[in-house]
């Protein structure tokens, strides 16, 4: 990453005025992957944070330039692997929009249900990982117990637990599993019972509250300026839910609230995600019994060719706004593809949020930003 002289300077010499430069990452328990933060400290107080990215950069955008419009969808699962369904949906929606493919209603319902399940699974994992960042190990296991039910449902229907690749242009790859509905209902029942556990263990805990309240504050103006989306922006009072602004699939048919908090601190971000899980449950409850009969995939041509032009599709992943931008020359492969990942913009606000706080606050801030490094690096 650096040339040799810089490394030595970074690790052995004190900076001006007794500053201490530590390399947090690429292997560090709290960076959840291979994020590298060069943190300048003054005692315990953070003076500057500089992210260094690229440890898991696979140049997916370049790869996609040589893949057809059917093939490139699977790659997007490998970006934000916790919301792979939603990423896949974004790509499928873009191809459908470009080629005016009609998507059967059944497929739309299935997509929305699976997207919301993915969102819950992602938030569950985040909850566990964040509690772990703050030193509480046990909620991780409780959160994973519920997440396991979702991955089982995914395994039944999609055949995979993490990188599903279940969404295809025109619908979904195959029909839902016969037991899908009963299993989802069982999950909803258990989730509603167990969600109080998180309140006892985490939300109401005095230590947790004092660790997160007033920590990593991001004002509304800054959230907009830094391009933050998703729960990070909504905790700062920015209304930015793509499911509300530009509904896709059947989101305009369901009732749900956009969760908005105004404090902008780590606790607000935490609360937004917890409440969002409940909203997701609400969406699933509305749809699960009324999945219409019919085809699960629309009629598509064998070879997909996007017309010449530019297409942009925005969706709301668990982390925020995910955008796919395709410039097509009319061939079977895109000329240029750009993925606008939510984590990348959210990360850029980290330095601003954590400056002047303690190392422990950095963990709380980073935990509530919910960074997924492959999503940032792409």
């Amino acid at each position: 990453m650096y040339n040799q002289t810089e490394v030595i300077k970074d690790t052995t010499e004190l900076g001006p005025e007794g500053e201490l430069v530590i390399n947090m990452g690429p292997q560090h328990p709290a960076t959840h992957g291979v994020l590298h933060l060069v943190v300048t400290l003054n005692g315990e107080t953070i003076k500057k944070i500089e992210p260094h990215l690229g440890y898991i950069h696979r140049s997916i955008e370049k790869m996609c330039e040589s893949l057809t419009y059917r093939q490139f969808i699977y790659v997007t699962s490998r970006m934000d692997y916790l919301s792979s369904h939603i990423n896949n949906t974004a790509c499928a929606l873009l191809v459908e929009k470009g080629m005016q493919i009609e998507v059967p209603e059944r497929a739309q319902y299935i997509r929305v249900i699976l997207n919301e399940l993915t969102r819950i699974a992602s938030h569950e994992l985040w909850l566990g990982a964040m509690a772990m960042d703050l030193g509480a190990f046990t909620p991780f296991f409780y959160a994973f117990r519920e997440r396991e039910m979702i991955t089982d449902i995914m395994e039944d229907t999609c055949g995979a637990r993490l990188t599903m690749n279940y969404i295809v242009p025109g619908g979904v790859m195959y029909d839902i599993h016969p037991e899908f509905q009963t299993k989802v209902k069982a999950f909803i029942k258990q989730f509603k019972e167990k969600v109080t556990e998180y309140e006892d263990l985490v939300t109401n805990n005095i230590i947790f509250q004092s660790r997160t309240k007033g920590v990593g504050v991001l004002s509304r103006e800054d959230a907009i300026s830094f391009g933050c989306t998703g729960p990070v922006a909504r905790a700062s009072g920015v209304s930015c839910d793509i499911r509300k602004i530009a509904p896709y699939d059947v989101y305009n048919k369901v009732e749900f609230d956009e969760v908005i908090e105004t404090a902008g601190d780590s606790f607000a971000r935490y609360m937004v995600r917890i409440k969002e899980m409940n909203q997701s449950i609400r969406i699933i409850e509305q749809l699960i019994d009324s999945i219409p009969e019919g085809e699960f995939v629309g009629k598509t041509k064998n070879v997909l060719k996007l017309p010449k032009g530019e297409f942009y599709q925005r969706v709301e992943t668990a982390r925020g706004e995910f955008g796919v931008y395709i410039v097509s020359e009319g061939g079977t492969t895109p000329h240029r593809i750009k993925f606008r990942s939510p984590g990348f913009s959210n990360l850029s606000a980290l330095s601003h949020m954590a400056e002047g706080s303690k190392i422990g606050d950095l963990m709380a801030t980073m935990g509530t930003l919910d960074l997924v490094i492959p999503d940032i690096d792409r």
Binding site: H28, A30, G360
Partner: protein, 358 residues
């Protein structure tokens, strides 16, 4: 009735018959050293296994269950692995201090073993300032930690050691005041007398509110003093990777690990002695038959039972709570625990002077 007291007196008598007193004393010393080292090793293995099992049960897992029945040899296997590992010394580290630090921490833990009464009349050294001795020696462990943090030439270690220093120095106060509460009530610093004073009832159950407060304070303070979650800032896995022992590997790491668990055992043993009556059996008022049955349980089992109950309590804390931040940790001590314990000490002193206690 089985009693450790009988064994010790028999051994001593036999030694005095066979040898002259000086040699007998020397042999006794050797026996004590061997016994305490054995106890150390045994406690290390048991406590680590217990921690893992408790954590597993709380976290709806099974825990270690592959080595031996129910995984009871897991820690022995781990120790074997750690012994075989290479002890790395980082570049530019202060080699002498780096190697010394784990032994300092370990020695402090060993010294603390001396005044603890494991059973009726089964004590290495019934020093007349026992409680003071414990308070004095236990604060030495911070030196070992600071040494380790500084000598490692690692910034994480240094940060961890500094945190640990601030933390232990602060929480010594509350722990000390909590201990003083009992000393004031008993009127003695000697462990055996403190235990003897609880013959009619343990201090915790005698119904003195200041004692109950002192007990809570003591548990919080010693949790912090032993660097256990929620006060494990010196290690703070998610912040400082492993804190002061980041650079240690192999047996030197194992010594730190062992010292941590021995320290827990010792502070819990002292807690049990001060508040839960040490080896005293549970006696309830005038239920003669009940008291008699309780007397039949050997005193060593009473002592170990109480100690392990407190150890379990501390483990329960660890697997439930998130970690505090460093400034909150010091806030908690200086703004909450210290005023409360000062007030508490004042209260108990008034009670003792007025003779309201029983």
């Amino acid at each position: 009735m089985f009693s450790l007291e009988g064994i010790t007196t028999a051994t001593q008598d036999w030694l005095l018959i066979k040898f002259n007193p000086t040699i007998a004393l020397a042999i006794e010393c050797v026996i004590v050293i061997l016994l305490s080292i054995t106890l150390f090793a045994f406690l290390g293995l048991v406590l680590v296994l217990m921690e893992r099992k408790v954590a597993a049960r709380i976290q709806i897992r099974l825990g270690p269950n592959r080595v031996g029945p129910g995984g009871i040899f897991q820690t022995a296997a781990d120790t074997l692995k750690l012994i075989m590992k290479e002890g790395l010394i980082p570049d530019n580290a202060d080699k002498f201090l780096f190697n010394l630090a784990p032994f300092v921490v370990m020695m402090v833990a060993m010294l603390l073993l001396a005044p603890i009464a494991f059973a009726k009349n089964f004590q290495i050294w019934d020093i007349n300032i026992g409680v003071l001795y414990i308070s004095a020696i236990s604060s030495l462990s911070v030196i070992g930690i600071l040494m380790a943090g500084w000598a490692s030439n690692n910034k994480y270690s240094l940060l961890g050691a500094m945190r640990s220093g601030a933390q232990i120095v602060s929480y010594e106060l509350s722990a000390g005041f909590a201990v003083l509460t009992i000393v004031v009530l008993t009127g003695s610093l000697q462990i055996s007398e403190i235990v003897a004073a609880q013959e009619n009832g343990w201090w915790l159950f005698k119904g003195h509110i200041p004692v109950i407060i002192a007990f809570v304070l003591y548990i919080i303070a010693v949790t912090a003093e032993t660097n256990r979650a929620p006060f494990d800032l010196a290690e703070a896995e998610s912040e400082l990777t492993a804190g002061f022992h980041t650079e240690y590997s192999g047996m030197k790491f194992a010594l730190f690990f062992l010292a941590e668990y021995i320290n827990i055992f010792i502070v819990c043993a002292i807690g049990a002695t001060l508040f839960l009556g040490g080896w005293m059996p549970l006696h309830i008022g005038h239920w003669e038959s009940f008291n008699h049955i309780m007397d039949y349980i050997p005193s060593s089992i009473w002592f170990m039972g109480k100690t392990f109950f407190l150890i379990f309590l501390i483990m329960w804390f660890r697997w439930t709570f998130p970690r505090l931040r460093v400034d909150q940790l010091l806030n908690l001590e200086w703004k909450y625990l210290l005023p409360i314990s000062l007030f508490n000490l004042l209260l108990v002193t008034v009670i003792a002077i007025m003779g309201w206690h029983f």
